[in-house]
C-alpha cells in the first residue's frame, strides 16, 4: 500500500477556532483521516517537534498553518514547517491577513506591555516585572520566545502556497481544499481557495437594497434592532460586504450581523479596508461639508471596522510614530 500523504496542522497566534473548524468537518473528517497521515496537530494529538525536525525537507505533503506570527517561537515553527512541507496552506483570517490579533498593530509593543504588566486595573506588579527572553534561576537559564514589535501575517514570514480565509473557514471550503490537495486538482500557486466575487454578490439582502443609499447617521449593530431583510448599509450599519470576498456561507448575515471582513479582499485587491473607505464615502448622503463631517464624526472606531481582520496585511501595517 502506498504511503499516505503526511499533513501537519499547526497553530501560531490563534484562538483554536480554526482547529475547531477542522473538527467540524464531522463525518468528512473520517474520510480525510483515512486518506492522510497527520504528523503534527498540537491541539488534538501528542507529537514532538523533534520528530518534525528529523524529517527530510518536503516529507510533509501539506502544512495547514493557522494564526498570525507575533513571537520568535511562531516564526521558528512556521519556517520549520515551510522547510519540511511541499505545500503550505494559510488557514483562516489570522494566517491569511493577520486576523483579529493583528489589531494589536494599532498599539506599540510598549503600550501593550504597559497595559498588561502595569496599568490594567487587575494587575499587581510592584516590581514592574516584564517578560524577558532569558532569565537566570539558580544558575539555570529559563527562556521565553521574543515578543515582536508587531503582528505579522504568514506570508510576511514564509512563502505561502494557498490561502483559505475565514474566521474560521467554513467546512465546505475546508473539505474542498483538502481534497483538491489529495487529488492534485489545485489552482495556480498563490490562489485563494474561495470564490472571487464580493460578499454583496452572494447576499440575499442585495435584492432589497434601495437604488440609492444615503447614510446620514451611522449606527452600531447593538444599538438598533436591525431589519433582517434589508441591506445593512441602507440601515446606516457598517457592513464590509462590498469589499470582502464571498464564500463564508453568510453565517453572520443570516444571524442579522453585518460582515466584519474575515474573508479578506477580493482578487486583485490588497487592502480591503482602504477600498471599503472609498466605497463608503459614496454612501454618505450629506453633500455639504459640515453635515458630512458630522456624519463621519459619528462613526466609532472606523479604522477598527476597516481592518478588524486584516491590519498586518494592509498597506499601512501598523501605527506610525509621529515625532
Amino acid at each position: 500500500m502506498a504511503e499516505k500523504p503526511k499533513v501537519a496542522i499547526y497553530w501560531l497566534t490563534a484562538c483554536g477556532g480554526c482547529d475547531e473548524a477542522i473538527v467540524d468537518l464531522n463525518e468528512v473528517i473520517l474520510l480525510v483521516a483515512d486518506a492522510i497521515d497527520i504528523v503534527l496537530w498540537p491541539v488534538a494529538m501528542d507529537f514532538k517537534y523533534e520528530s518534525i525536525r528529523k524529517m527530510k525537507n518536503g516529507d510533509i505533503a501539506l502544512a495547514i498553518l493557522h494564526g498570525a506570527v507575533r513571537n520568535s517561537e511562531q516564526e521558528e515553527m512556521a519556517k520549520l514547517l515551510r522547510e519540511k512541507s511541499q505545500l503550505v496552506l494559510a488557514f483562516g483570517a489570522c494566517a491569511c491577513f493577520g486576523g483579529t490579533a493583528g489589531m494589536a498593530n494599532f498599539r506599540s509593543k510598549e503600550d501593550i506591555f504597559d497595559w498588561v504588566y502595569r496599568d490594567a486595573p487587575t494587575v499587581v506588579n510592584p516590581n514592574n516585572n516584564r517578560p524577558q527572553t532569558v532569565f537566570s534561576v539558580n544558575g539555570n537559564n529559563l527562556t521565553l520566545p521574543e515578543f515582536y514589535d508587531r503582528v505579522y501575517s504568514l506570508r510576511e514570514i514564509i512563502d505561502v502556497d494557498y490561502y483559505l480565509p475565514g474566521c474560521p473557514p467554513p467546512p465546505d471550503l475546508i473539505a474542498n481544499a483538502v481534497f483538491a490537495v489529495l487529488e492534485g486538482k489545485l489552482p495556480p500557486r498563490g490562489a485563494t481557495l474561495a470564490p472571487s466575487k464580493p460578499l454583496c454578490d452572494a447576499c440575499s439582502r442585495n435584492q432589497t437594497k434601495p437604488q440609492k443609499i444615503e447614510i446620514s447617521e451611522f449606527k452600531r449593530i447593538h444599538e438598533v434592532e436591525a431589519k433582517d431583510d434589508l441591506c445593512f448599509l441602507a440601515q446606516g450599519i457598517i457592513c464590509l460586504g462590498p469589499a470582502i470576498r464571498s464564500g463564508c456561507g453568510e453565517t453572520c448575515l443570516r444571524t442579522n450581523v453585518p460582515c466584519r471582513g474575515c474573508f479578506g479582499p477580493v482578487d486583485g485587491v490588497d487592502d480591503a479596508g482602504a477600498k471599503f473607505i472609498s466605497g463608503l464615502a459614496s454612501l454618505i448622503g450629506a453633500e455639504n461639508e459640515e453635515d458630512a463631517q458630522k456624519t463621519i464624526d459619528g462613526i466609532d472606531d472606523l479604522a477598527g471596522y476597516c481592518y478588524r481582520f486584516s491590519l498586518p496585511s494592509a498597506s499601512l501595517k501598523h501605527k506610525n510614530k509621529e515625532k
Binding site: 454618505i284 463621519i296 479604522a303 509621529e322
Partner: protein, 131 residues
C-alpha cells in the same frame, strides 16, 4: 543638518485647475498628477503616495456644485474625511492630507496652494513611515 523639504503629492482635477500643459507649471512642480476628476482619486492612491515617501497629499477639485461629473468633488471630499479619520489611527497627522475645492482654470494658484501646504507640513516634520 540639511533643511527638511516636504515631499508633497498633488492630485489636480483638470477641469477645475487647468490642464497645465500650456503654462509650464507641470514642469516646475514635482509629483503633480492631473486627474480627470478629483472623485477618481482612490484611497489606495493616497495611501500609496504616503508609502512611497510623500510627507503630504493634496487633492484639488472643483468648487461646490461645479463638478464636471456631477458629484465627483463631493465624493472626493467625503473620501478624504473618512481617510483622515483612519490615518489618525495609523499615527498619521490629519494635516498631511488635504482637499481644496475651488476653481482656477489656468492653474496659476497651484504653486501657491502647494507652497502653503508644504509650510504646514514642514512644522509636522518628515513622515518616516516604517512599512
Amino acid at each position: 543638518m540639511t533643511e527638511f523639504t516636504p515631499k508633497l503629492v498633488c492630485f489636480s482635477c483638470k477641469f477645475g485647475w487647468g490642464y497645465l500643459n500650456t503654462n509650464g507649471y507641470k514642469n516646475q512642480l514635482k509629483n503633480l498628477i492631473p486627474v480627470t476628476c478629483s472623485g477618481t482619486v482612490d484611497t489606495t492612491h493616497i495611501i500609496g503616495a504616503f508609502k512611497e515617501g510623500a510627507d503630504g497629499v493634496l487633492i484639488l477639485g472643483c468648487p461646490d456644485s461645479e463638478c464636471h461629473f456631477q458629484t465627483g468633488n463631493y465624493q472626493a471630499r467625503k473620501k478624504i474625511m473618512l481617510l483622515r479619520k483612519v490615518l489618525k489611527e495609523f499615527g498619521i497627522d490629519s494635516g498631511r492630507l488635504k482637499i481644496a475645492l475651488s476653481i482656477d482654470p489656468e492653474g496659476a494658484q497651484i504653486p501657491v496652494v502647494i507652497d502653503a501646504m508644504k509650510k504646514e507640513i514642514k512644522n509636522l516634520g518628515p513622515l518616516r513611515l516604517a512599512v
